[in-house]
Symmetry: C2
C-alpha cells in the first residue's frame, strides 16, 4: 500500500540535497572546530557558513548572533531561563501565551516554581493572541515576553510584529518560538521586532538533533549548560558539525523555495479543509481559517476519539496526528485546544494534517476519500453518536 | 602531502559502517518516535535497538537505564546538576578531582556558586586520584562523587572501581565521565560500582551531537531542560533518531573490536612514547606510563610552546593537539597539567598525540621522524634554550 505522510508537524524527512551536502563532509571533514590544525580550521569554516545561511533565513545581519543548539527545545530553554535568570535583578515577571509548545510552557512553569510570576495570556477561539492583552499584562517587573510565531497544532499565525513592537516600546525582551513558522512564512528579526528567536533544523527538512537561537546583540543572557564554552559560552559541547552543515543547507533551500512552495501548499491545504468540512457533518476547523500556516489543516470531529482516527487512518496508509507528537505520551487533552475554549470531549476528537514537499493533489484526493468514511465508521461504533 | 591525524582525542571520523547504518534510515525512516502511526512506531523500534547496544557496551542490563543526550557535555551536566539539585535536601557537598573535563569542572563550579561545597581531590604527578583521599574528603553532607574513568589530556586511567566501592559503602552516588575511556577499555557499571556514567558517540567513531547517560535505577535526579518529556522526562527534545542509530552501531562495533584494537594501538603508542622520549632531550611523558589509555601518548618539551609545535607539525601534515580542544580558546595553561604539579611554563610546552583506527606503523615512523626535528628547530629559535 502506498503511504501518505501527512504529519510534517511531528517530523519531516531530510531533503535529498541536504543529505548530499552532509555526506560530502562527514567522512572527510572530521576535525573539531576548536582544534588549531588544518582539519580543525576546515570544519570551523563549515560551521561559519552554516551560521550564515541560518542568519540569512531570518534576516539576521551578523551571523555571530546565531548560536547553534541541539534542538528547538534547548533553544527555548536557553532563551527563557537564560534571559529570566540573568535579568532577575531587574524583575521577576514573564508573559507568554496559553498555547505555547511544551518546551516553552515547561521552562516557564519551572521559573514560576523559582520566584517568578508568569502571565499566560489567553487566546481567541481561533487561537489568536490579542496584542492589547499582552500590553495590559505588562508590569514594571516584566522582563520577558515569549509568544510563538505560529502554532504547530492549530496552524494559527500570531501577530508577533505587533507584540514585538509593544515589547520594544516597553523595553522588554521579546522571544518567539518560530519552529512551526520557519520555512513556511517569511521571518525578519528586524521587522518583526524579535530579540530572541528559536529555530529547528528538522522543520526545514534538515537533520534532527540541531536547532538554533537568534540572540540580538546586547541581550543579557546566561547559559543553561556549562562546559567548554562553545557558541560564545552560551552552548557548551563539541559542535555537531555534520548536523549544522545540514541545517545550513536546509535554510538555504528554504530561502529559495519557500515562496513558491507556500503557494502550492496553500492550495492543497484549502482543498483539504474545504473537502473535510464539506463532506463530514459536525466537523470543525481548529485554528484560524486564513491567518494560517500554508501546510496546516486541523479539525475536530464530534463523538469520536482522535487516537482512533489516527490508528484507523494508519491502516489505510495515512500518517496523521492528534495534537502535538511531543505530548502524545499523556492522555490529557491538548492544552492548546482547551485554551481555545473547547470542552475536554471536544478536544479529544482532534485530527492534525500537515503537508510537505512530497504531498500532491492525489494525496489530498485520497485523504478526502478515506477520512470521511473513517469518521463515519468510527461514529457508527460510538455510543454517543445518534444518526 | 599525506596527512596523518593524531588528534582522536579532539574528534574522531565516523566509521564507514556507522555511516552506512545511519544512511539506511535517514531517508526512509523519518517518523517521530512519539507518533502513533507506522512511521512513528518504526523509529521507536530503532531508538530501542540503539539503546540496547549502548547499554550492552557498559554492562547495563536494562536499556531503560540509558538516556540519550545531545552530547557528553549535556550528560555530565544532567548527572552533576541533576543529582545535586534533586538531593540538596540531603546534603550540599560534592567531591570531584582536579583533572576533570570542563563539562564537569564548570557544572561543579556553578553548584559552588549556588550553595554547594565542592572538594577538588588532588592527583599524583602521574595524574592518579588516590581513592584514600576521596574517602577522607567524604563528610555527612556529601551527596555525589564524580571522578573520570580516564583523562583525555594525559591518558591516565583512574582507579574508579575502588572509588566506586568507597562511594557505595558510604551510600553516596558515584558518577564517572567515561568519554576518554569508552571503546578503549572495558567498562562495567556493576563491577565498577557506577551509579551514573557519561558516554559520547563520537569517541566510539559515531556521529557527533549524540551522547548518553547511564542512570542506575533508583538514583534521584532531575532534568536540566524542560519540554515534551522525552527520555523518561530527563531529556526533552525530539529524539535525534539518525544520530542515535549511529551511536548504537558504533557501540556494537566497539564491543566486537575493542580488545584487538587496544592491543594494536598499545603497540603503536609504546613505540611513539619510546621514540619521542629516546630521541628528544628534556622531553617528558605526561600522565602515567602504564595505567594509560591504549591510544594515548602525551608529552611536554622544555623551552617551547605547544601551540608552535601544533602549527609546525600541521605544516608537515601531522594533526595533533596541545591539551584539550575544548579549552583551546583560552590562553590559560591546562588545569590538568597544573594539577600534576607542573609550572605554567612547563604546562605550555605540551603535545598530545591520540591514535585511531586509521593509524599504522608508518604513521608512527613518520611522526618519529618529524617531531624530533620540529622540536629541535623550535628550540633553536627559543631565547630560553641553550644547547
Amino acid at each position: 500500500m502506498k503511504r501518505i505522510y501527512l504529519d510534517h508537524g511531528a517530523s519531516m524527512p531530510v531533503e535529498e540535497r541536504v543529505l548530499e551536502a552532509m555526506n560530502q563532509f562527514i567522512v572527510k571533514d572530521y576535525g573539531n572546530p576548536s582544534s588549531l590544525h588544518t582539519e580543525g580550521r576546515a570544519v570551523k569554516k563549515l560551521v561559519g557558513e552554516a551560521r550564515e545561511s541560518v542568519a540569512k533565513l531570518i534576516g539576521v545581519e551578523d551571523p555571530q548572533n546565531i548560536i547553534f543548539t541541539s534542538s528547538a527545545t534547548e533553544a527555548n530553554n536557553i532563551a527563557i531561563r537564560g534571559v529570566a535568570n540573568r535579568n532577575k535583578g531587574k524583575g521577576n515577571h514573564v508573559i507568554t501565551s496559553a498555547i505555547e509548545h511544551m518546551s516553552v510552557v515547561n521552562p516557564v512553569k519551572d521559573l514560576s516554581k523559582n520566584g517568578f510570576d508568569v502571565t499566560f495570556v489567553p487566546v481567541s477561539p481561533e487561537g489568536l493572541v490579542d496584542p492589547e492583552k499582552v500590553n495590559e499584562a505588562i508590569t514594571d517587573k516584566t522582563i520577558l515576553i515569549s509568544i510563538m510565531n505560529a502554532n504547530g497544532e492549530i496552524g494559527t499565525i500570531e501577530p508577533i510584529r505587533e507584540i514585538g513592537g509593544i515589547a520594544r516600546d516597553a523595553g522588554i525582551y521579546f522571544h518567539s518560538d518560530c519552529v512551526a513558522a520557519e520555512g513556511r512564512k517569511p521571518i525578519d528579526v528586524e521587522k518583526d521586532n524579535l530579540d530572541l528567536a528559536t529555530l529547528s533544523s528538522n522543520d526545514l527538512y534538515g537533520p534532527r538533533g540541531v536547532g538554533a537561537l537568534y540572540i540580538r546583540k546586547g541581550v543579557k543572557i546566561q547559559p543553561i549548560m556549562y562546559g567548554g564554552g562553545q557558541e560564545r559560552g552560551l552552548r557548551s559541547g563539541t559542535e555537531n558539525v555534520y548536523g549544522l552543515v545540514g541545517m545550513g543547507k536546509a535554510a538555504e533551500i528554504a530561502m529559495q523555495e519557500m515562496k513558491s512552495e507556500s503557494v502550492r501548499l496553500t492550495k492543497l491545504r484549502d482543498k483539504l479543509i474545504d473537502g473535510v468540512l464539506g463532506n463530514i457533518e459536525e466537523a470543525y476547523l481548529t485554528g484560524h481559517r486564513t491567518l494560517r500556516l500554508p501546510h496546516h489543516a486541523s479539525f475536530r470531529f464530534s463523538y469520536i476519539e482522535g487516537e482512533s482516527i489516527i490508528l484507523n487512518l494508519d491502516m489505510e496508509g495515512i500518517s496523521a496526528s492528534t495534537g502535538s507528537a511531543c505530548s502524545s505520551k499523556t492522555l490529557e487533552p491538548s492544552h492548546v485546544l482547551i485554551a481555545l475554549g473547547l470542552k475536554h470531549e471536544e478536544a479529544h476528537g482532534s485530527l492534525v494534517l500537515t503537508l510537505g514537499h512530497a504531498n500532491n493533489d492525489e494525496d489530498v484526493d485520497y485523504a478526502l476519500d478515506v477520512i470521511p468514511r473513517t469518521v463515519e465508521r468510527l461514529r457508527e461504533m460510538s455510543p454517543l453518536y445518534k444518526k
